[in-house]
Chain length 324, copies 2
């Protein structure tokens, strides 16, 4: 099965389970960006981020005997919640391995979505060892966050929807800006656009100082960030592009873009004010790129993915002071 | 033409112009409400509220010669922005008469959406006289905010969508909670449901102390609020139900519900946290009713309209401290 066929098959499995998010716009954002801006609010997806799509895609594709033994994931963030809900909607168990110093709210939310949360001590324990032991003991299947073809296929359904929605609007050519961590969402979208909207080009967006994908694309090989923490865009601070995702990004994507924390906060504030959606810092880097990197973007329309909205109330309230 | 046919005709005129908003949900809200809660986020509509629908419905129905002379409205709020954008998308002029002490941001926004804003002094001038003089001089058509059949028909398209979406989900019976000011949205939805989903029942929701519609329904005749200001739910503080809307509400709606300001703020915070949408206080009273008046609601599913999201950043940041 080709990558595109895998995405189409994932779309079939997601039908009636994932939300088809709309495209939003505002004349005020168009004015700021100097071109038409269309925003795909994946913050409105189940569990507040696109991650539900990949999790559902992977879990729904397991053979029934394997699936009924349950799944496991390592994550303290959006992937954890996506896996927990997708598993519980399939009626199966999920185990999420999280650091014991993760915010209590995230632990509580993941449990409330039906997962068993197993905590480990970051300083003295290895989550991989704990996870491998649990998986072996119970026959759990590991759901990786991005470097997994079925997860990429699920995230690619965002790209299928963008291709359809752009066609309805008569848009044949545009940059599609995507918040990029390990590259699962960006590579999935790029594959879907290659097949269904070849005039649309995916471009990864990252925080400045954590622009491993942008630099990897420039150098033609995987390069890493020197830091993996210390930026408010926590959802997309992966050390480097994935081994499966990077070749896809390299073949299909336009140059990467990067923005400052302040620009991400301004984009969050503008999305609040003009679109009435809640986006988290990592989910705001593509909108920030559209608004504040206009000279690096081509065409009279830009499509932006707002990938998630799981942000602490205090941080969000602070962002609202950044309305330009 | 029957009321239902007017709504269906309005839906035809709105197609491709208004957004078809989705139905959102969250297991966390279901848990709080003790039943399934489905939220229709009209805050995601153009200009951040359902008012765009009624404005577009009325303007698009004018005969071309009348329309090209332009329209006028009295409003400092959501209706103003809806009329301004609907007029400018029709390529016609709009005049919005606003009090000179309206917040500068609202004046600026209305102008930016293409309207000519005419300011008047609340203490010494009558907006009706100013408006009538301008209308006569320029041949402008007045677009009323709610007591106008074409406006009610436009708002009724929310009800058509709810009927369709409920059917897709297999929901045959439910209360539909609607934030209610003058009653344009509630009566339009009630008429649409009567025709297309007779098992769904519209119910008006209001702030405590400004529950003129709830009391009017109880007494069977129009009664007024003693105050028309002094509550954060500014978008729905009308003095009394409309003369056209009230007979519709009386014939079709279930009993009204009312909530406190604190409950509206909590509902805003929960919509932020669980649905990733921005709703204003007046737009949150239906969700607040679903969450905090569970004993007054019937059935295992409740549908809630979140009617608008035009809220000042400071007020919104304050609401986020109300997460229960």
């Amino acid at each position: 099965m080709s990558s595109l066929e895998m995405i189409e098959a994932a779309a079939g499995r997601l039908k009636g389970h994932a939300r088809r998010t709309p495209l939003l716009d505002s004349p005020f954002l168009d004015e700021l960006a100097g071109r038409r801006v269309l925003v795909k609010p994946e913050c409105l997806q189940h569990t507040g981020s696109f991650k539900f799509r990949g999790a559902w895609s992977a879990i729904s594709a397991l053979d029934p005997d394997t699936r009924k033994r349950g799944v496991i994931a390592y994550s303290s963030g959006n992937h954890a919640q996506g896996v927990a809900l997708a598993a519980s909607k399939h009626g199966i168990a999920s185990v999420i391995v999280m650091p014991s110093d993760a915010p209590q709210l995230k632990i509580d939310n993941t449990r409330a979505l039906g997962a068993e949360v197993v905590l480990y001590d970051r300083a003295t324990e290895s989550r991989e060892e704990i996870g491998a032991a649990l998986a072996a003991e119970r026959g759990l299947t590991l759901i990786k966050p991005y470097d997994e073809p079925l997860v990429i296929a699920g995230q690619g359904t965002v790209g299928l929807e963008i291709a359809e929605q752009a066609k309805e609007l008569g848009i044949e050519k545009a940059d599609v800006l995507v918040p990029c961590g390990g590259g699962g969402l960006t590579s999935g979208i790029a594959l879907a656009l290659e097949g269904h909207a070849p005039g649309l080009r995916a471009r990864p967006c990252e925080p400045e100082g954590f622009d491993d994908t942008k630099r990897s694309l420039l150098s033609g090989r995987i390069v890493s960030n020197t830091e993996t923490s210390g930026n408010i865009c926590d959802a997309i601070l992966t050390p480097q592009p994935g081994e499966i995702t990077f070749p896809i990004l390299k073949r299909l994507c336009g140059p990467g873009l990067s923005v400052s924390e302040g620009e991400a906060l301004q984009a969050m504030a503008l999305a609040f004010l003009r679109l009435k959606i809640v986006i988290e810092p990592g989910g705001a880097v593509a909108l920030a790129s559209a608004l504040f990197r206009r000279d690096e973007i081509e065409g009279d329309t830009v499509i932006v993915v707002a990938s998630g909205g799981n942000v602490d109330p205090e941080l969000f309230a602070g962002a609202l002071k950044h309305i330009p």
